[in-house]
């Protein structure tokens, strides 16, 4: 459901779930309208920061107006967020972007793929698809497999670790190939660009529809500044050039439509 506002959020709780990775629950109005794969802009308060930080909505509890953000401390903004305590106020630009088309894929064999800090939005997506034939492939650097337990309530879980310490050695595509009795109809993915490129190619070669969630530097988050564009195969309906706004037309795109 479309919701757009600057919310005053209140921190419900925060914990570190892995080295440098935090799970933050916030109470805000946008939570009950949020869809899987949408994101929010969280404004830091520090004087050396100014723009909102785009963070994916990991999951929500609509009945409690609660939204969960899982993020990695990357710089000044996320460092500040990691110090938020219960009861603190946060300014949030909610809700941004389109999200994964979960209603369109019901009844199909669905593979969710998350790599590193791209895993959080896939949890909410798994939750939205609970009861469907969902297989989650999660890619980690090592055996610190944050969030993987939580996926088990909604889907089958397959793990890949770059260092081979757990699951399949390699990335999520390697894990998919290793379990390939499975022929997915649809892949939904979020993660680093090389992973998304590999998924785009794999999906094209195997006749699978893939939806990928992209990332880019943003200023406005609402489609006004044209800072966050991605190249498109065809002319974009809004821009009339081969560029589309990730914050507005995305962050989720059919992989066939974007030139990455």
């Amino acid at each position: 459901m479309f919701y757009r506002n600057v919310d005053e959020g209140t921190v419900i709780s925060q914990e570190m779930i892995s080295e440098g990775i935090f799970s933050l629950w916030i109470k805000n109005e946008g939570a009950k309208h949020a869809g899987a794969g949408q994101f929010v802009g969280v404004y830091p308060k520090g004087k050396d920061t100014m723009l909102m930080r785009p963070i994916s909505i990991c999951e929500t509890k609509p009945e409690e107006n609660a939204m969960r953000l899982v993020y990695r401390v990357a710089g000044a903004g996320t460092k500040e967020f990691s110090e938020l305590k219960k009861g603190d106020k946060v300014k949030i630009l909610a809700n941004l972007g389109n999200g994964f088309p979960v209603d369109e894929v019901k009844g199909k064999t669905i593979v969710l793929m998350g790599g590193g800090i791209g895993i959080p939005p896939m949890l909410g997506t798994a939750k939205a698809l609970a009861g469907e034939d969902v297989h989650a492939y999660l890619g980690y650097r090592n055996n610190d497999t944050f969030l993987s337990d939580e996926f088990m309530q909604y889907s089958k879980v397959y793990i890949a670790a770059e260092d081979g310490s757990v699951g399949v050695k390699g990335n999520v595509i390697d894990a998919l190939k290793a379990t390939t009795v499975l022929k997915p109809d649809v892949i939904m993915a979020c993660g680093p660009m090389p992973m998304l490129r590999a998924i785009k190619n794999y999906a094209a070669e195997n006749g699978i529809t893939a939806y990928i969630s992209l990332e880019e530097r943003m200023a406005c988050g609402v489609g006004a500044c044209l800072g966050c564009v991605c190249k498109t195969v065809n002319k974009d309906e809004h821009s009339h050039v081969n560029n589309t706004r990730i914050c507005t037309e995305g962050p989720v795109f059919n992989a066939e439509e974007v030139d990455i």
Binding site: C220, G223, L226, G227, C228, V241
Partner: protein, 300 residues
């Protein structure tokens, strides 16, 4: 209390406009503010044909501001006429279309296409630092600025505002050239050329290497330039650069601007435009000012 200002015969209900490129054509921020409250909506720069803009990353945060190198991506004047202008026509606000081009002919073609529309004024961007050809060249040499202004003025059926670049040695020379060539008003400042390096990756943060700086860190430079221009020319000035509050806007008016525009701060506070208008009104009440025009250029 009167907040109306007049620029080249066009009356604005208040002196607060949007800065080109930070507000699209009003649709996006129309979700946060009532566009009817604004003095004017100034559109993103539009050219005769669609422009794809620069590669990404196009934006970067800096201390007290940001850099952008959008490269004037725009859908072209036809889409502006078919989609954006009818949208804006629904609101009781003035519409200023910002026009960009690579050659004088590009500007003229866009202006001629827009002449027959309900646009109130044109703002001519001769000062974008982020496109390689044309544009900025017109804004950095007084004789080139004089020439482009004169040729656009000759074909324009609407009053024109030449938008000046701060990336010059003496901005008053530019202001004088625009005035001498018949520009009805000037607006300043466009972004200040900057650069940011990612020292961990030893790379430029922006794909374009350089970008235009905007935001609060820019304000003192903008105030100084508005003051200098106000003392150099007699045409009205639209001032901008880092405006976040009503107080910031008042500072520009006192320096000599007849109107102001809010840019990058829309990103930080989506209701910034309306907050600035309310801040101006509160200031006027607090200081018993019955007419906003009383304070324009009051600091000599």
């Amino acid at each position: 209390m009167n907040t109306k200002v007049n620029i080249a015969g066009v009356e604005f209900k208040n002196p607060v406009m949007t800065a080109s490129g930070t507000f699209g054509s009003g649709m996006e921020y129309g979700q946060f503010v009532d566009l009817n409250k604004l003095g004017a909506v100034v559109t993103k720069g539009v050219s005769n044909v669609p422009w794809p803009g620069n590669p990404t990353p196009r934006v970067a945060e800096t201390y007290g501001g940001m850099l952008n190198a959008i490269g004037l991506q725009n859908p072209g004047v036809d889409v502006m006429i078919e989609r954006d202008l009818p949208f804006l026509a629904k609101y009781d606000t003035k519409v200023i279309v910002n026009v960009c081009g690579k050659t004088v002919e590009d500007y003229i073609e866009a202006v001629e296409r827009l002449n027959e529309t309900n646009v109130d004024m044109f703002e001519i961007n001769v000062s974008c630092p982020n496109v390689k050809e044309g544009a900025i060249a017109f804004g950095q040499k007084a004789d080139a600025l004089f020439d482009v202004t004169k040729r656009i003025k000759a074909v324009s059926k609407k009053p024109i505002i030449m938008k000046l670049s701060p990336n010059v040695t003496d901005i008053t020379e530019m202001a004088k050239a625009a005035e001498a060539a018949g520009s009805d008003a000037i607006s300043l400042i466009n972004t200040l050329t900057g650069m940011k390096i990612d020292i961990e990756r030893r790379k430029f943060v922006l794909a374009n290497k350089t970008g235009g700086m905007s935001g609060p860190a820019l304000k003192p430079v903008a105030i100084r330039m508005v003051y200098q221009c106000a003392n150099a020319v007699n045409i009205p000035i639209i001032g901008m650069g880092g405006i976040a509050t009503g107080e910031d806007a008042i500072e520009f008016l006192m320096a000599g601007a007849t109107a102001v525009a809010v840019g990058a701060m829309n990103f930080v506070n989506p209701t910034a435009t309306v907050d600035v208008i309310e801040g101006i009104e509160k200031y006027m009440m607090r200081h018993n000012i019955s007419d906003i025009n009383e304070i324009i250029g009051c600091v000599k």
